[in-house]
Amino acid sequence: MEKGIIGTVQEEEVMGEKGMGGEPLIKLDNVTKVYPLLSGDVVALSHVSLDIYEGDFIAIMGPSGSGKSTLLNQLGCLDVPTSGDLFIMGNNTKEMSDDDLSELRRDSIGFIFQTFNLINLLKAYENVEYPLILKRQVDHSKQRAEEVLHLLGIDDTLMIHTPRQLSGGQQQRVAIARALINDPKILLCDEPTGNLDSTTGIQIMDILSGLNKQGRTVIMVTHDSRIAGYANHTINMIDGRIV
């Protein structure tokens, strides 16, 4: 057993459960996403089928407009497929209500964005505390948020600042803390180092890699092949298809 950033996980789960014949954590079955526009329908994802297992670290690569972000949005339950089925932990997202999808995002999925996407009205620790409060876990929520922030290198002085008062790297650490506070199984990262200098980018990737080693499934969109090197699987996309 190893003490992770959040909770404790099995060391041997690094390879995921694929080799052990487990059910996929995420399953895409012939998923197509079409955006109807006045100028004509845009097919953002075309017949994508994919199994992702618990403990996987997947990098999604491809040129702009290839459907990477659309795929990540589908995986994050921010959108539902036009056709085909997407199962997350056995639940078909097409059959879930908007509130159910919100709860799934809140409880099981952590988002890490290129632009950090912290709420500027809230202080750093409050941003981290927010998902706990959404879950009505208000007892010791501040203490929990502080613990996670400490583990990610944000000290007491920094955590009472608003996001605008923090550097990019610090903001991304806060964003990671927020993503982790509800102990999600899945971490979705959209260009997590895109707005950071290379040194800070490496630090962030080390954190993500560590989280994966503790058993979390990490799915990351990136343009950078060096960053993709942290993943144990790489998916390349072109024109909405996996190639």
Binding site: N117, I119, E129, Y130, I133, L134, V138
Partner: protein
């Protein structure tokens, strides 16, 4: 962050962040609440004061024989129908502690100097005079054989204290011992053109001892008018209708209704300003949604439900309304007091519940209008596409 009040907390922070804009929006609500409350209080105070003034004169139930001669109902000697002593006793039985005043009424010729005319002659127990009329000059009828004259008759005929009037064909002289104030409203005793004489004097001239033309019941509580009228009707008109009973309830109701309509109209005028304020709140809320699209996207991406986003914006509208209504309520109290004092000149009824009720009324309308104005922006915010919201710059 205060637990499950996170959405309220976020709304408060956003209001603080845009303090000036929020304050200006709330100012509209302040004006609206002041307009509604102050106008309402003004109308209510007018209603209360007028009702009180009218009630001094209109708390009389008048009972008369169905074919009898009330005021000016023919010459005294020709009246055959009357209310008997027994009926007066029956009336006293059913009206309880309220005062019963039997009256002899009629009209006769009068001579003032060399001028001849006609006037109402009212015979009354001297001890009852003060219940029905007030003496402006002179004394009442107690211990005298003189007469009191109505304000109009005294003015038109140049009657003064000590003037002599000759009454009837026998020209029985009587001296004016008092001149009455104008009686104005009321069905009980219209004495402005009448001569009031002691009842024993009246019966000594006209006879009719124990036979009255009118019985007035002075009702202590104006709200009992209807029940007392009904009780007399039930007692005296049991088999056939022998007496006519009139009370000023309907007149009072009409006046109150008119004043109520005026109060509503004044309040509606105030309401218009509140509607203008609602447009301002709506505008501010729409701006708030537009400025926070990305934040809404973030909140949705980390698991905030549509209903929770809606609640956050409705809280914001509520805060604007509550702040506006709070300040407005305070100012309404001060301005209402000044307006009532200056325009009506009487603040006796300002602290009555019927007047002060317009404060919470105006405040509640202010808050409700704000929340209503926030519904569409809140709905719009909650239905934003999370992906598009996250991409919003």
């Amino acid at each position: 962050m205060a637990g499950s009040h996170i959405f309220f907390d976020l709304s408060v922070r956003n209001v603080r962040l845009n303090f000036l804009r929020s304050l200006l929006a709330s100012l509209g609500i302040v004006i609206g609440v002041v307009a509604i409350s102050a106008m309402g209080m003004l109308g209510a105070n007018m209603q209360l004061i007028l009702t009180a003034r009218l009630s001094q004169n209109v708390n009389i139930v008048s009972v008369s024989p169905i074919s009898g001669g009330e005021f000016g109902g023919g010459s005294v000697s020709s009246t055959n129908n009357y209310i008997s002593d027994i009926q007066v006793q029956q009336i006293k039985q059913v009206v309880g502690h309220n005062i019963v005043i039997p009256l002899h009424t009629g009209s006769d010729t009068i001579m003032i100097g060399s001028n001849k005319g006609r006037a109402s002659i009212i015979g009354i127990d001297p001890s009852d005079v003060s219940y029905l009329v007030t003496v402006a000059e002179g004394t009442d009828l107690s211990g005298t054989t003189g007469a009191l004259v109505g304000a109009t008759l005294a003015n038109d005929s140049n009657l003064n204290l000590g003037s002599r009037i000759k009454i009837g064909s026998n020209e029985v002289p009587v001296m004016v011992v008092g001149i009455l104030n104008a009686t104005g409203f009321g069905t009980g005793l219209n004495a402005d053109r009448a001569i009031l004489v002691p009842d024993h004097w009246y019966t000594s001239i006209y006879g009719n001892n124990g036979e009255y033309n009118t019985v007035n019941v002075i009702v202590n509580n104006i709200n009992d008018l209807s029940s007392i009228r009904d009780a007399i009707d039930k007692r005296l008109n049991r088999n056939t209708n022998v007496v006519r009973i009139s009370d000023p309830t309907s007149m009072l109701q009409n006046i109150q209704q008119s004043l109520g309509t005026m109060t509503s109209f004044l309040t509606m005028l105030g309401g218009i300003s509140l509607l203008v304020a609602a447009v301002s709140i709506f505008n501010v809320m729409m701006m708030s949604v537009s400025e926070r699209i990305r934040e809404i996207g973030i909140l949705r991406s980390i698991g905030t439900k549509k209903g929770e986003v809606r609640r956050m914006f409705l809280y914001e509208a509520f805060i604007l309304g509550a702040v506006g209504a709070g300040i407005g309520g305070l100012l309404s109290f001060i301005i209402g007091y000044l307006v009532v004092g200056l325009l009506i000149g009487n603040i006796t009824y300002f602290f009555m519940p019927q007047s002060l009720v317009y404060l919470p009324y105006g405040m509640a309308i202010g808050i409700i209008i704000c929340v209503l104005a926030g519904i569409y922006p809140a709905w719009k915010a909650s239905n934003l596409n999370p992906i598009e919201a996250l991409r919003h710059e």
